[in-house]
């Protein structure tokens, strides 16, 4: 029994890692009023660039850095289209998704050409903690990008609730007119959050290609970026709740794999359906906690417009 719990929990933590990066990144953008549906495309670009760097140089740190830079560039482009050009965000996001998916696949075909494996970030046991019973094995024998994903939750919570920057981000998302009249630079804040979101999506991709899976294949993420966006709504723009959502989704997924491995006689299609079904049902059950989305979400800022 203990082995099962440890196995499922470790699976869930691994599965949740890319979602955490991408969802927290998306949360920042949405809190400042920018919806980005293109997360999956940025993740793919991050995954490819990190993988390519590691394949050619063997340098994991450099791979991560390249993913961050590529994520930042994409974040900049997304901010330009959505904030400066005031594009319809639901649609530009799909454009970035299609573009990132296509570009990463072309680059893969041309620059690598076939599937390879690399040695990704190894498990990094944390001294003393990793020897603790149960939690030691589950929590403190992961690789560095897994730690990073979980560290991101308190960090982003702190940023959003305890710092002036965090308050400005929320203000820009809730009431840009008021924030503007108080002298907050709305464009700058939104560029900041969207670029940060791009960086985190890039790291999310890298966490797949150079830490968890250690391979790259066309469309490696297989739609994970969309789930990450969904989890932002599950978490109602609060980092801790986003964590809960990611863990819920991933745990159910880990359990459904276990159910299959144990040969319990349920058609696999139904077990595979469970993470998606449970996420909706749980959210519906928690219905009446009326959390309002950032009022200016999906609305470009135009000075003097109501």
């Amino acid at each position: 029994m203990e082995a099962i719990i440890i196995g499922i929990t470790k699976s869930a933590i691994r599965l949740a890692t890319p979602y955490l990066y991408a969802s927290i990144g998306e949360t920042l953008g949405q809190l400042s009023g920018v919806l980005n549906l293109g997360v999956d495309g940025v993740m793919l670009m991050g995954a490819f660039s990190a993988f390519y760097t590691v394949l050619k140089t063997g340098n994991l740190g450099l791979g991560l850095l390249v993913a961050i830079v590529v994520g930042a560039i994409f974040g900049l482009l997304i901010a330009f289209v959505n904030v400066t050009l005031k594009a319809e965000q639901g649609i530009s996001g799909i454009g970035f998704y299609i573009f990132g998916q296509g570009l990463s696949s072309v680059l893969f075909s041309v620059m690598i050409g076939s599937v390879h494996t690399v040695n990704g970030f190894p498990p990094l046991p944390i001294p003393w903690f990793s020897d603790l019973p149960l939690v030691g094995e589950i929590l403190f024998q992961q690789n560095i990008l897994v730690y990073g994903a979980f560290a991101l939750i308190p960090l982003s919570w702190f940023l959003l609730t305890k710092t002036p920057l965090g308050l400005n981000i929320r203000a820009v998302g809730q009431n840009p007119q008021a924030a503007d009249s108080l002298g907050v630079n709305i464009v700058r804040i939104r560029y900041f959050t969207v670029i940060a979101g791009g960086i985190l999506s890039g790291i999310a991709g890298a966490s797949l290609s150079i830490a968890l899976l250690n391979v790259f294949q066309q469309n490696l993420t297989n739609g994970m970026g969309f789930i990450a966006v969904a989890l932002v709504y599950f978490g109602a723009w609060r980092p801790l709740s986003v964590l809960n959502g990611a863990l819920l989704f991933s745990t159910v997924n880990a359990i459904q794999i276990w159910v299959q491995v144990k040969g319990i006689n349920i058609p696999p299609d139904f077990t595979l359906m469970m993470p998606y079904l449970v996420t909706i049902v749980v959210l519906t059950a928690m219905a009446k906690r009326r959390v309002r989305p950032p009022a200016a979400l999906n609305k470009p800022f135009q000075r003097g417009e109501e």
Partner: protein, 373 residues
């Protein structure tokens, strides 16, 4: 006046200029791969319009895009984003297939009508769930539609590799996850001896219907109103949750109908490759782009769907002729979406300037009319 006219035309040309600019970027990408862009684009054109078959394929692709695009228009006008098109297409197609397989002895045209209605209704229910959860349980529609897409796909896989699998596949031992061919009697009539079928006419008919619905009926007006201003709608006595569910219901209905028509008009059976896109061709997402290209207007979505259908059909020909990695076409499509959606702002601000040049009288009349609504 003349100046204004010129400006108006120039403004209208902005999205086209953006489109061409994206193609120019694509040209560079193609050239970097060592391929003659001229040959590539020629292939693109020929693939979309070069022969009767090419034109038929373009229109067939546009049909599904148009149905999804219309669904998106309604949802968008109600202020919600329906990215559940993939799931709604699958559900609509599956249920129409099941009806045709269950009642093969009914007269052809009766069965066609029933199947299309069932496809429409099940798409509506699949979309309606998202609307219902949003309106009454505060579940965001982006979350629910993404999840519902996956649920639909796994449900489809289950049915196709089990209960409704073609008995022949079991007999042959090849276990291809598809149904038997539907009775010939339910094939939608073909317009010319290609894959071109009645579907496109039904789609255009519905485009006109959606236009009339949104702009000429009270219900349509209310749906547009909640899309513009929820508090004001509530204040004026509109039952906002009810209309939100209705918008999603109608949106899903159109997409579901599109799925049913794809089965009866093109494939005549249901099949799966494990994902939705093997059947839908990602129309659930591309339809959103078509709706945008059509200015989120049902009638504008008609030419927009044709353009996008041509682009997607032609792109495959481009792969065949110049053997570029197929993904380049995806990247190019993404660029086109980004350039067009990015140019919208320029077009709108230019349009505003044109409006300012117009006589003040018209302007104020226009404005007061808006307030009436």
């Amino acid at each position: 006046m003349k100046y204004k006219r010129v400006r108006e035309i120039l403004t209208g040309l902005i999205p086209i200029a953006a489109f061409l600019l994206a193609l120019l970027m694509g040209t560079m990408m193609i050239a970097i791969l060592g391929i003659n862009p001229w040959v590539a684009y020629q292939a693109l054109y020929n693939g979309a319009f070069g022969s009767i078959n090419a034109i038929a394929d373009t229109i067939v692709k546009a049909t599904t895009l148009l149905f999804v695009g219309l669904g998106i228009c309604i949802a968008f006008r109600a202020g919600v984003l329906n990215i559940g098109g993939e799931g709604q297409l699958v559900v609509g197609a599956l249920s129409a297939t099941i009806i045709c397989l269950t009642f093969p002895d009914l007269a052809g045209w009766i069965l066609i009508i029933i199947a299309l209605l069932v496809g429409l209704l099940s798409g509506a229910i699949w979309g309606g769930i998202a609307g219902f959860l949003k309106a009454y349980f505060n579940v965001n529609e982006i979350l629910s539609t993404i999840m519902l897409n996956y649920i639909a796909v796994y449900g489809m896989n289950y049915l196709l590799r089990g209960p409704i699998m073609d008995p022949l596949q079991v007999k042959l031992g090849s276990f291809i996850p598809q149904t038997a061919r539907l009775p010939q009697a339910v094939d939608l009539p073909r317009l010319i001896p290609t894959r071109l079928n009645l579907g496109i006419i039904i789609a255009i008919f519905f485009a006109i219907l959606v236009y009339i619905f949104l702009w000429r009926t009270t219900i349509g007006f209310r749906i547009r109103m909640i899309g513009q201003n929820i508090p004001a709608s509530r204040a004026s006595g509109i039952n906002v949750p009810k209309y939100m569910v209705l918008a999603f219901f109608l949106s899903g209905a159109l997409v579901g109908l599109g799925g049913a028509i794809e089965v009866l008009g093109v494939h005549h059976r249901m099949f799966t490759d494990g994902s939705a896109s093997g059947f839908t061709g990602s129309a659930g997402f591309n339809g959103i782009v078509a709706a945008l290209f059509g200015q989120l207007h049902p009638l504008g979505t008609i030419p927009a769907s044709l353009l996008l259908g041509a682009l997607l059909t032609g792109a495959n020909k481009m792969q065949r002729v110049v053997q570029i990695p197929s993904a380049l076409i995806g990247a190019l499509n993404g660029l086109i979406v980004l350039f067009v959606v990015g140019s919208e702002y320029l077009r709108r601000s230019q349009a505003r300037r044109v409006e300012l040049i117009t006589e003040v009288g018209y302007n104020s009349k226009h404005k007061s009319k808006k307030e009436d609504e």
